[in-house]
Symmetry: C2
């Protein structure tokens, strides 16, 4: 018997109808022993996520304002779910009581207080799903993260898992009952509830999958699979059914928004395959993310981009003879508190690519002044409005002709290439272009590698 | 009236016949006021350059061996020239006397002694050319670098010009006579003769051109023009008639051996155009190197490559989150005394490209150990046998389609691209490939940009 950990995102639990789909999926495969749930998400575009309502609830208290209205909205969402699932009125009372009690809690530490309230969405989801499954006659229990021993660093809103959690959680593998586990939060050693960064239910699932050494971590969302490019940019992007951890990572970095690769990292580290699936279409193949993939015929699995980078460009005659030049430049960048993405360099030139938003006018003045006085470049300019596009595919740089296809497609679409960076990574090529060309470039690159001729 | 400084290389003065060509060229244009000469070079492949004979002469004395044989060879070379130019026997006697006297000079400082002798080739060339022109009835004088004030740093064999030289040499502009000036050496403030690095006659000419603010610095060699690629690699490389200083510089760096860009730097700095011409074919158009070129139709002016680089490659999860990672890596490289060429980097990867010859086994062990212990990479490997190829052309990166043509040609020639670095420099794209593919790649790139369709 295999062991599966599955996690359902916010849209998968947005309504009673969605809860029923989740229950059906959980029941369809007895290997699905541990189910991690998010807070109810949006039922439709204009809807509000429960987590956002909970944050507003906490902030109303913190601001000393009345919280009745937002409390009513929250309870209304859960009342709808409880009613739709035909659960006893007790469940509603419990939720209302906990919500009120938390709101009246200790407000001396702002972030801690917010964490204690915003985590309730997951707790309530998990309690209601467990109650529903039990009502239907199935042996599922709600497991509290504190009792299970999910110990996190004491950083409200940005907690990190502590290593002992894996040992603490391992026994869940052998639990008599199947388990419903709330995502997004755990407890610090002090006993305080602390939340992961946003999207943290993915992290909870990944940690559980690693702890119990699951055969697969099923991550249920609202898309059939990962696409080769952003559907808001490319009309009908290709479906990707297999990709590797490293491909996922490069794509996330490049602006792919389907998944946060860091959230899945605990599963990747434990070499547990992650299967992205659709709650609303559980028959679809999904996307399996694992250490290696078989599909040799797909050199590129995705194209993604981010805009608004800038380049601090400097040139100096005989720069490459000056030992320590690059190192001193990076030291200035570092001491200004900046992170950089790349440092393409030529014989007399070097650029430092950084996120435009981090180069505030004050930091820019400071950095340029230091560069001028300490490195005495012949030329020093800041170029703005750069987008970085990446094509990603394991081993692609070992295949002849990939760069040809990519640069050919970009030239044919009249995109000027300001930068190319290939070879740093084994599984991506990066192109630097003007912001305005970004969508055109992504369409062109997707066409070059995925359009059937 | 324009003012020209011209310099003739070793093959231009290899024999009496060549001296006559040089005289003819000097006389053909009265603007050629200052003529800088090298020592007689090779007359044919198996021949020996006079400078090499002079070094052997000095080393024979230093080793306490007899120098008669090599002295005889040197004097025989000059005797042939004197005879061919129908100069009086006096000239030979003067040369023989100076050569003997220098050989018997102070040997307490080895490098200084070698400099004092190896510079004689240029001195003799200049004396004989001046004597020949005067004999033919023209107003040329030999000017001694010491009297003219060519003051260099006191680094035998590797002297650098000192700034006061420019002021000292400026009056040559208004000399009543036309001037023959020996290349390759000058004097330290102490009065000692010191030589430039090898190829230093180009430097002397460039300094003089800058000092007298020449309209052009004519550099006479034995080729009709600069070629777009190495003729030993590409069968019939395209002729390049115009290029810019920065193009020249990138090409020199990339392995172009026609000229040492650093030797021409004094002229470049003073914005004096450098005209490469052929002593044996003075009618040919040559190559004009200047600040800007007009030829908008030639996006690329050259293709060159160097082999035997290696890449220290490391990967580490979340590397780009670790502030100072790149800087600390470069510090390790710097503290090991290594220079690096490029540092292509990706999200979790960085490579440092260095000349393979500088990464000795001891340095490699040291560097890898420090990287391992201080940076704790997940993966650390050294890749060897990398060739770096560059295509060079001012403003090429602003033209759409250059990368397409280049990567297309490489793919069509089955060259695998391990690295591409574009955008660091405004006028080059660098490709990293396997050593073994280097010539194939240069042929392919030359074909892509210069072959007439």
């Amino acid at each position: 018997m295999a062991l599966k950990v599955c996690k359902f995102g916010g849209t998968s639990l947005a309504s009673a109808e969605q809860f029923r789909k989740v229950a059906q999926i959980a029941l369809a495969d007895s290997d699905r022993k541990i189910v991690v749930v998010s807070a109810p998400g949006k039922r439709n575009k204009p809807d509000t996520k429960v987590t956002d309502m909970l944050i507003a609830y906490a902030e109303a208290f913190l601001a000393g304002q009345g919280a009745e209205e937002v409390q009513a909205s929250i309870l209304e969402r859960f009342a709808g779910i409880i009613e739709g699932l035909e659960l006893p009125k007790d469940e509603y009372d419990t939720i209302a009581r906990i919500l009120t009690a938390r709101g009246a809690g200790d407000r001396s530490h702002r972030a801690r207080y917010i964490d204690s309230i915003k985590a309730l969405g997951e707790e309530f989801s998990a309690r209601l799903l467990a109650a529903f499954l039990r009502k239907e006659g199935h042996d599922f229990i709600y497991v509290d993260p504190k009792e299970a021993g999910l110990v996190l660093s004491d950083e409200p809103g940005n907690a990190q898992v502590l290593p002992e959690s894996y040992d603490n959680l391992r026994p869940l593998r052998d639990s008599e009952h199947r388990i419903i586990f709330p995502g997004f939060y755990g407890y610090a050693a002090s006993g305080n509830l602390v939340a992961f960064p946003r999207g943290g239910s993915d992290i909870t699932g990944a940690i559980l999958a690693a702890a119990v050494q699951a055969d697969v971590y099923e991550n249920f969302t609202d898309v059939d699979n990962v696409f080769a490019a952003d559907p808001r940019i490319v009309d009908v992007p290709a479906a990707i059914h297999e990709m590797t951890y490293s491909e996922m990572r490069e794509l996330s970095y490049a602006g792919f928004s389907v998944l946060h690769d860091e959230a899945l990292q605990p599963a990747f580290n434990a070499k547990i395959p992650v299967h992205i699936r659709n709650t609303n279409n559980p028959e679809s193949r999904g996307t399996l993310i694992s250490l290696e993939r078989n599909n040799d015929e797909l050199p590129v699995v995705g194209v993604a981009g981010s805009s608004d980078f800038c380049a601090i460009f400097l040139s100096k005659y005989l720069m490459n003879r000056e030992k320590g030049f690059g190192r001193r430049l990076l030291q200035i960048i570092e001491e200004a508190g900046l992170s950089y993405e790349h440092t393409p360099s030529g014989i007399d030139h070097i650029s430092v690519i950084i996120k435009q938003s981090t180069l505030t006018p004050e930091i820019e003045t400071l950095v340029l002044e230091r560069i001028r006085s300490e490195l005495q470049p012949d030329k020093l300019i800041v170029r703005r409005g750069i987008a970085l596009i990446m094509i990603v595919g394991d081993g692609m740089t070992k295949q002849i002709g990939i760069a040809k296809r990519a640069t050919g497609a970009l030239a044919d679409s009249q995109v000027n290439l300001e930068m190319i960076n290939q070879g740093a990574s084994e599984n991506s090529i990066m192109f630097g272009i003007q912001n305005d060309d970004m969508n055109k470039a992504i369409v062109a690159l997707h066409g070059a590698f995925f359009n059937k001729k």
